[in-house]
């Protein structure tokens, strides 16, 4: 038995709502373009930017201009309010907020730091009050009116997947009845320069699973899901869209940033998630791959998929060419896409793919495809060897 998903919300470069994201995914177009509006960029990076400015987001969310709120938290509030629609706080439903982020308030901290280092200017010192990851989760929780069980997960690019599986486990263990789970990350110099320093930032559109792939494009965004127990649903009256039926978290224990050539951690995560869901591999109707388009990730992930599925790979695609790699939000954005794949019985195209990898027979779905989908596997892997997989079921 899984845990019911009773609400979804998303904001990304692909759109400001679930329906806008769905329309963009179906269109086969990529919104990834030159990043604008971030101060002091070292390079003309391309990436997936959310089209709303901080000012517009603040206005829409009724956040005072006086209050120090990092963009990560604004994006989180925007997506979470869509997911939370129709839900209410209740003394009868023990509720947790489990949010993931990798940068927290870094987008503000780096602006303070520049002025401080270059000009000994302390004017923006109070911006550091929201530097830590938990600050954003508190802003989000206050916004939702939830005061207990606040969690922030930070396992780099697998963060949101771990937030989702923590929520599912807390419900299954009867610690809570309901959780709003997901993640948020805004674009900032720190991560753009960081991935560029690793020489894995593609200056052109990223090409997941393509032999010519050079690296990723970053993106920003947030996505949240509401998970509920049966008891909670009796009170909330919400319908289940689908369920989170399987999950597993493992570690690659190979390198701080690179994935092992044999896809060790990824194989353990995928196998563990299928086992938890009680499914054999042929039951999976679609895989939303991690597929960052870095040479290392995609080969390692393809190897892991072959380890688990042999040569009978289910239809799979990476949606990172649409959203960019949204880091700690990616697992949640892709979880929402997985829910949509089940709800609407469709497989989203993997953009920019032309040339298959030399090393593997691993061809993603490249056009919007209708299919019978009962179960979706979603992979999220990150720095620190963190590898997590989720299974969503009809």
């Amino acid at each position: 038995m899984g845990v019911a998903v009773t609400g979804i919300g998303i904001v990304s470069a692909a759109g400001l709502t679930v329906s806008e994201n769905l329309a963009m995914l179906k269109s086969g177009k990529s919104p990834i373009r030159k990043i604008e509006g971030i101060q002091n960029l070292r390079k003309p990076y391309i990436g997936g930017q959310v089209s709303l400015s901080d000012e517009v987001l603040r206005k829409e969310l009724a956040v005072s201009t006086e209050k120090i709120v990092p963009r990560t938290a604004l994006l989180a509030m925007k997506a979470a309010s869509e997911a939370w629609t129709g839900h209410k706080t209740s003394d009868e439903i023990r509720t947790a907020v489990i949010s993931a982020t990798s940068i927290g308030g870094m987008e503000l901290s780096e602006q303070f730091y520049r002025q401080f280092k270059r000009a000994n200017d302390f004017a923006k010192l109070n911006w550091l009050s929201v530097h830590d990851n938990g600050a954003g989760t508190n802003i989000l929780s206050d916004f939702l009116g939830i005061n207990t069980w606040r969690f922030t997960v930070s396992t780099a690019c697998s963060s949101a997947a771990n937030a989702i599986l923590l929520g599912a486990r807390m419900i299954q263990n009867n610690v809570i009845d309901r959780a709003i789970v997901g993640g948020a990350d805004a674009l900032c110099n720190f991560t753009l320069n960081g991935f560029d320093s690793l020489m894995i930032y593609d200056s052109e559109w990223c090409k997941p699973f393509d032999d010519r792939r050079k690296g990723l494009n970053l993106g920003e965004g947030a996505a949240y899901l509401v998970l509920e127990s049966e008891e909670s649903r009796k009170i909330s009256g919400k319908n289940s869209i689908c369920s989170v039926s399987g999950w597993a978290n493992a570690n690659d224990a190979w390198h701080q940033t690179a994935s092992s050539p044999e896809g060790r951690g990824a194989t353990l995560a995928i196998t563990g998630a299928l086992q938890k869901a009680g499914l054999t591999s042929e039951k999976i109707g679609y895989i939303n791959a991690h597929g960052t388009a870095t040479p290392n990730n995609d080969l390692s992930e393809a190897t892991a998929l072959n380890n688990v599925f042999g040569n009978n790979l289910p239809p799979f695609s990476s949606t990172k060419a649409v959203t960019g790699h949204t880091l700690a939000a990616a697992g949640a954005i892709e979880a929402v896409y997985s829910v949509l794949a089940i709800r609407d019985q469709i497989i989203f195209p993997n953009l920019n793919f032309e040339v298959p990898m030399k090393e593997k027979t691993c061809i993603p779905v490249t056009t919007l495809t209708s299919a019978k989908i009962d179960h979706v596997l979603s992979n999220s892997f990150g720095f620190g060897g963190n590898t997590s997989s989720l299974v969503f079921s009809k």
Binding site: G134, A135, N147, R150, N249, A253, R264, G265, G384, G385
Partner: protein, 309 residues
């Protein structure tokens, strides 16, 4: 939900690595972390590549683990790897062009310590990191307590934060008292078995609000978890005024652990080892049921209840 503590280790500004917390709590606190000699347990070339925070995290984790096999590594850290974060910021704010070195970026992510523990041990098990301000360790402990009951195995859980010279400087500029700052790493091994346990964690909870709701929430937490009134409260007040907070439990002896280890967001991990030592009867303080009340800025609160196994 409950879990049992089977071992622990703290690396701090006291000689806690060698002698524990109660034996060193009345001595003068060092200005810096007292790093033990790790060369017996970690290869010297690996140690050289680790920042001080990673070194204290991996060191405390490996010492707590000892010879046990572990099937979960869970870390709580309020701020993550600040030194490496500052190093990478330094590079790009001062250098508008040219190539940046990736090492500091790689080791700046919040999950670096958990990742390095897995890497050092070659351990492919469950691995997670929590960063919820003052209740980062309570987040990690909640996960660890669930996990050891789910998989019936040993889980390594820790709280770790570092304090860099820049953090102290900025704190002073913002009007904070630098003397209250602290840092440290405390790791514990939990499992679901009472046999051979040092102490038992019988409850863990976190909530946000203000100090006026603390007493009623503590009382509700004890009732809902079926826990008896504690005979000792370890209180971490992060240097803010907390008068009248514990009216409900006013007749219970209270010790402020932040005075012992200094303020850092995850120092309730230090308090958990301290509570276990007290319950084991290692020092002069006598108690069989200890409640840790972690107060972060009078806004975020963590509750951990420990008793005899």
């Amino acid at each position: 939900m409950s879990a049992y503590i089977h071992s622990y280790c703290t690396i701090s500004r006291r000689e806690t690595f060698a002698r524990g917390i109660l034996a060193t709590m009345n001595e003068k606190r060092s200005e810096t972390i007292i790093h033990p000699d790790f060369t017996m347990v970690i290869k010297p070339e690996l140690i050289r590549r680790m920042s001080p925070m990673i070194r204290m995290g991996v060191g405390a984790a490996l010492a707590a683990k000892g010879e046990r096999g572990i099937d979960g590594i869970i870390v709580g850290t309020g701020l993550g790897c600040m030194e490496n974060t500052e190093k990478f910021l330094d590079q790009f704010v001062m250098k508008d062009e040219g190539i940046l070195a990736p090492t500091a970026f790689i080791q700046s992510t919040h999950n670096t310590v958990a990742g390095q523990i897995a890497l050092t041990l070659g351990n492919t098990c469950y691995n997670s990191t929590y960063t919820q301000r003052g209740v980062s360790f309570e987040n990690a402990l909640t996960d660890a307590m669930m996990l050891c009951n789910e998989i019936k195995s040993n889980i390594l859980v820790g709280g770790i934060d570092e304090c860099t010279p820049l953090m102290t400087q900025l704190g002073i500029t913002a009007g904070l008292d630098s003397k209250i700052y602290g840092e440290g790493a405390s790791f514990l091994v939990l499992n679901d078995k009472a046999d051979g346990a040092l102490s038992k964690v019988s409850g863990c909870f976190n909530f946000s609000g203000d100090t006026s709701s603390l007493a009623s929430t503590v009382s509700k937490f004890l009732d809902n978890s079926g826990l008896k009134k504690p005979d000792l409260i370890l209180f971490g007040d992060s240097g803010v005024t907390t008068s009248g907070l514990l009216d409900l439990l006013a007749d219970i002896k209270t010790i402020n652990y932040s005075d012992i280890c200094g303020n850092y967001m995850s120092n309730s991990a230090f308090a958990l080892q301290m509570a276990s030592e007290i319950i084991e009867g290692k020092g002069a303080i006598k108690a069989t049921k200890v409640l840790i009340v972690h107060n972060f800025s009078d806004a975020d609160f963590g509750l951990i209840y420990i008793e005899k196994p």
